[in-house]
Point group: C2
Chain length 419, copies 2
């Protein structure tokens, strides 16, 4: 990498080109945007060999660095995964275009007609780690929603990201559009990230997707508005009135089906009067889940590990779960309010009123009654591909789809009205 | 003021009490919230003498500090203004409660039913200057929307703010609610503001209302999500096809009716082929508006002041306007894109297609065709009382009403569904 690029001039130049490309993407109609996306899907499939060759470089570096099997697997591409990336781009093309939609039109006593038009945010920056499909997804979502993308992936997938980004840039240029509609930060000097985060004059929103350290750094450094995609410390509360099979299935699904994701269950709270506490713990153990329990849990299932104070704050992302026996619904609420990361929480109950109270009183991005937290996902919620799952309350909360990349502006039709 | 309060412990304690009060306000039903508000309106009216006595202290300090007449006037309360504050509280009570409303309910192929419930943001901090009615408005809007308020007003209105805040706190306590639902920062040490802005664990959103310096400081220091309420550098574009009377009325209304507000016009762009350029300038001058014109404007109206580069960037908030003659609609768009603060812009035109293009291509919070920018206001748009006018794109853009103080959480009803 060229030395000049190392300076902040590299980032500033990229930001200015991105801001300048806004006018070129925001005016494209749905057909043109879809044509670009379908071409991208086609190019991804036809050039899988070149993509795999670049991916190989990242994989080699990963092996040299001695990464974990899980990490290596997240990085790895194959024909099937490339096909699924292309399919995801096609789905985004097929999805309804939110841009230009007019909502809430009304005539006011003054005579003016006021409504709100959905428009792109402008320039969207995303800072993310390892998985190369994020590059393709975000670039496609930005194009569909009329936004310019600034992508800053992790160094572990730099070669893969470079070829994936250069493909869409080449397509844009080849179709006589501005290639700067999609920008990849290729200089991964960490000192340059704060430079990017201060360019609120050029970038409209920054989305950090990753671990606590990344989120904290972005929140502290950014003058750009941030939409956090933080961890999921999700809770399942099994009420005394829970149906036995349902409780067991939802617990196993929440913990076992894919433990490494943010909507997996990390802590289970069980009402002391639920009759099948031991059976519930046993079914998790049968699925090789390590249980870390409170004193009362240990009384029920002697020999399991005792939970420490730290366990209630831990997102295991693994086949481990913390379990607490609670005296009441209110105690469960209080535990969740204290420890939840505000991502997803579920209750299993037969009690109508407790279900309603749980929905109302739990302050998380998604709240489930008698369904698995694993459903918290853009696809499952019907949003199409997702930008991610926002854990903050402003603008987009929870699963964030294409619409989350747009904003509303007021439009007013008048006939010469004045105040 | 007690010395101990000077330390950041004062702010930290206030933040913790505010966060703790969330659970007490968010569960209140509409009737209870309205009862609190109507009582507040009543107390304001019945205790006008005490309010005026406290206001007098602020006014005295203002005179000693030698403030401008405009500043003094903004600070000044009288019986009529107190009545209008009370009336505003009654209007907020009468407005529809957005909390608990369920939107977009749908059944997904998996069987789950997914919707979004409108819920309070949590703790809302507002940092503002001089006008004491903001204290009453924001406290009332927060109560109605189920939020805890943290108010940090300017030192120039501290005595007035203290009595207005203590009234609502006394009402809350008297009705057996937690008084910490409304909190006023009484220690105005400037070093404490950054302490407040870093408490993202306790405060959910911060709204700075004020000058550029304040906004910049908040944006840089805050780790809490910010909704900026910045300046309005608003443009009026008079197209060659504009109707003469309409152009003149909208220009005069935009500049003259209330020049000190953020939705007033600061720059007027006139198409070179508009036939009544001189008449348009003359009608503004008749209303004592000082015109700072480009070279071509001076050719039309010799003797006016020449505009410098700085004029295109200036929010006069006074009877001054900058005027530029442009060669085309595109030149007007480009000028606006370069200099606008993204607040409000208007076009006067008879051309259908130009009106549509203006609505689409101008990237501001509110865009007007043949109507005055002065309409950009929560009341005029039908939102009820307004929190302010947001000049950023995230969450709430433009006039921000009660709904802007809420967020959506996903709610899911299931029958034991798993993935």
């Amino acid at each position: 990498m060229n030395k000049e690029k190392k300076s902040s001039a590299y980032i500033n130049d990229l930001c200015e080109r991105a801001a300048n490309a806004k006018k070129d993407i925001c005016i494209l109609d749905t057909k043109s945007k879809n044509r670009i996306l379908l071409k991208y899907a086609d190019v991804l499939r036809k050039n899988s060999t070149s993509i795999l060759a670049e991916n190989e470089k990242d994989l080699k570096a990963a092996i040299d660095a001695g990464v974990s099997k899980a990490f290596y697997d997240r990085l790895l591409l194959d024909e099937k995964r490339i096909d699924s990336m292309a399919q995801s781009v096609e789905e985004i093309a097929a999805f309804e275009d939110p841009v230009g939609r007019i909502e809430n039109m009304r005539t006011r006593p003054s005579g003016i007609r006021v409504g709100q038009m959905r428009v792109p945010l402008g320039v969207v920056a995303v800072i993310y780690e390892s998985r190369p499909n994020v590059t393709v997804d975000i670039a496609s979502l930005c194009i569909k929603s009329g936004n310019v993308a600034v992508l800053r992936g992790g160094e572990e997938s730099i070669y893969t990201n470079m070829i994936l980004a250069s493909m869409i840039r080449d397509i844009l240029a080849g179709m006589n559009y501005n290639p700067d509609i999609v920008n990849l930060v290729e200089n991964l000097d960490r000192d340059l990230v704060p430079v990017l985060l201060k360019r609120d004059d050029a970038i409209d929103i920054v989305i950090p997707r990753g671990g606590e350290g990344l989120i904290k750094m972005v929140t502290q450094e950014a003058t750009i508005p941030v939409i956090k995609h933080e961890k999921g410390l999700c809770h399942l509360y099994v009420d005394e009135s829970a149906v036995k099979d349902m409780a067991e299935q939802i617990a196993v699904n929440g913990k076992v089906q894919r433990p490494g994701v943010c909507n997996a269950v990390e802590t289970m709270l069980i009402h002391k009067n639920y009759p099948w506490k031991k059976e519930l713990l046993a079914v998790l153990m049968k699925h090789k889940v390590e249980i870390r329990g409170c004193e009362k849990t240990i009384e029920i299932m002697p020999g399991i590990v005792a939970a420490t104070a730290a366990d209630w704050k831990t997102e295991y992302l693994d086949l481990t779960i913390s379990v607490r026996i609670v005296d009441s619904f209110e105690d469960a609420l209080e535990h969740i309010t204290t420890y939840s990361s505000g991502h997803s929480e579920a209750i299993v109950t037969s009690d109508y009123f407790l279900g309603q109270r749980f929905l109302k009183e739990i302050d998380s991005a998604a709240v489930f009654v008698n369904a698995s937290t694993r459903f918290h996902d853009g696809g499952e919620f019907g949003l199409g591909a997702e930008v991610g799952i926002s854990t903050q309350k402003l603008h987009a909360r929870g699963a964030m789809g294409i619409e989350g990349l747009t904003t509303l502006k007021y439009i007013v039709y008048g006939n010469g009205e004045i105040r």
